[in-house]
Symmetry: C5
Subunit: 149 residues, 5 copies
């Protein structure tokens, strides 16, 4: 059994309200992506793994980045990894670049107020959330000796 | 007792004045979010935990991301976690994406000066603060052996 | 044999769909760049290394940042490095700054709707992907004593 | 003596010139903020601590985020912390969001050239610096046993 | 001999081509800044240090952030630091904020096509590079006992 690196991708949206605002927003994870050797991902996450988007096949040495968890709880995933002997060894995070594309972004200044109002209505809830959209990546690793016990 | 991962989310606003400016601004934390197994969060933070937004229920295995601390002092939270045997094992940070949405953002160029002045007055304090808005995430972890003692 | 630092650059595009959207997007790595002492890079990655852009020459002490892997699997690269005694010691990530340049960015507001429509068609798929474009850098290190065994 | 977490905030501006440009710019730190238990901050940094903005009072258990160093040398602060038994355990960084607010940002397109020229003159030096403005946060921690010796 | 913290600033530009594009771009470091106690920086980097921008003077306790390396190879700097007993203990990264200032940014929309074309020609190569501009900071540390041997 070789040592195995485990790269768990966390894609999350984090949003919180402004100072003094009643509605505190909490962490919202969209999806916990799991990347690594396919057989190892299955060994660790078992039934909690959604494999519907993974092409499958190709034996024990196949690596995949098309698996994700059925639940959206990051700490639960960490517990599962720790129970299997993995340690978190790295993390990094980055915000998205600007807001999601809207139709005709540069033309809004030329829209009528009615069109603009309609667009604002559709986007108003999204915009504050988009401002805080980001992804975070965690890397987990298991020492070889732990695996051979 | 299993090993437990503890994910404490820190949502903060950091702002400082320009070089040579009299009014130095300091760290302003909006809210310290706490995520993880609900029973563990309560064991660690006890009375300092605000549970008003947590749905509760579902037994010892329930994970939550709807708890936050009653105080806004990051170092105090770190001390509490260290006293309970947790170590900080990861941190990452990201700025927000652009500024908070203002009504009719692309239409301001067509406003009268009076409207514009009014809007600048409302936003002038916010903008410099928004530029530095960011969140930081810290992950804390406790080795299983410490818990079983 | 001296101790060797190993800097593996990961350039990736990360994109995911919105909440409740059917098409979940996964991690897409464009290219895994490998930087460090050229002889060491070859010792570690062997045939999986693309050397076509590396100028070569200049002996054992030459450092290069013009090598990349033939595959795009980050976890496979981590496994290879771990098998050779390297440990991941640092990681950091950052998003790209804004979107890719489009021709005449400031002039789009003056385009006809037809031109604008054409441009939106060409860019619509790209924009959501560009929002999530980022790079991540990992640093791997091998202790000198491991190498001399 | 309990174990103490120490959160030193570094607020810096980093700027460098373009490739081949004569004037290389260097790191410019605006202010090194120090956060943590007030008595501990004083024990560690002593006379190098500026306490003029700290409200004071409230005994040994008071935490503060209103202290900063009299000098702007990050490495000197690290040496001081290391001499007192602290270790750096985490760091994270994030850029500011966009540029600092200018008066009537959306109205500049409608200004006369004279007004615009004046504004460019005022802002030209600032803009390149603002592009690189960022903050970095470091967390330092001291194990309890070191303190009790 | 006291323990010494070593803060090496890495300022780099990272750029890569789009998926399926022939011209793969590689890491381009503009300049490796070195910050810390001046005597220690010289002890570690010796002749590879460019001291032309350092004011000098003031004895063994002087800290500086005005030194940089004559070469632009990050891994070579890491090897040098490791040979002298330093360990990398932290890293963080952040992108630049938006693109570099162009003259009259808000007025471009009012330029003639000829002026605009000229400007696009000058900027087209720069823009994709600017999108990926970022800096990365690494902190190196040497334990006191290693130094006294």
């Amino acid at each position: 059994m070789a040592n195995e690196d485990f790269n768990t991708w966390i894609s999350g949206t984090f949003a919180f309200g402004r100072d003094g605002q009643a509605d505190v927003k909490f962490r919202k994870l969209h999806r916990i992506l799991v990347c690594g050797k396919a057989t190892l991902c299955r060994e660790v996450f078992g039934d909690t793994l959604n494999e519907s988007r993974d092409p499958g096949g190709e034996g024990a040495e196949r690596y995949t980045s098309r698996l994700y968890l059925k639940h959206q709880c990051f700490e639960k995933a960490c517990d599962t990894l720790a129970e299997k002997g993995f340690k978190m060894i790295a993390s990094c995070s980055s915000g998205a670049n600007g807001l999601a594309p809207t139709p005709h972004p540069m033309l809004t200044a030329q829209m009528s107020n009615t069109q603009q109002d309609f667009m604002n209505q559709r986007n108003s809830g999204d915009l504050e959330e988009q401002r805080w959209a980001h992804y975070t990546e965690y890397v987990f690793y298991r020492e070889p000796q732990i695996l051979s016990n």
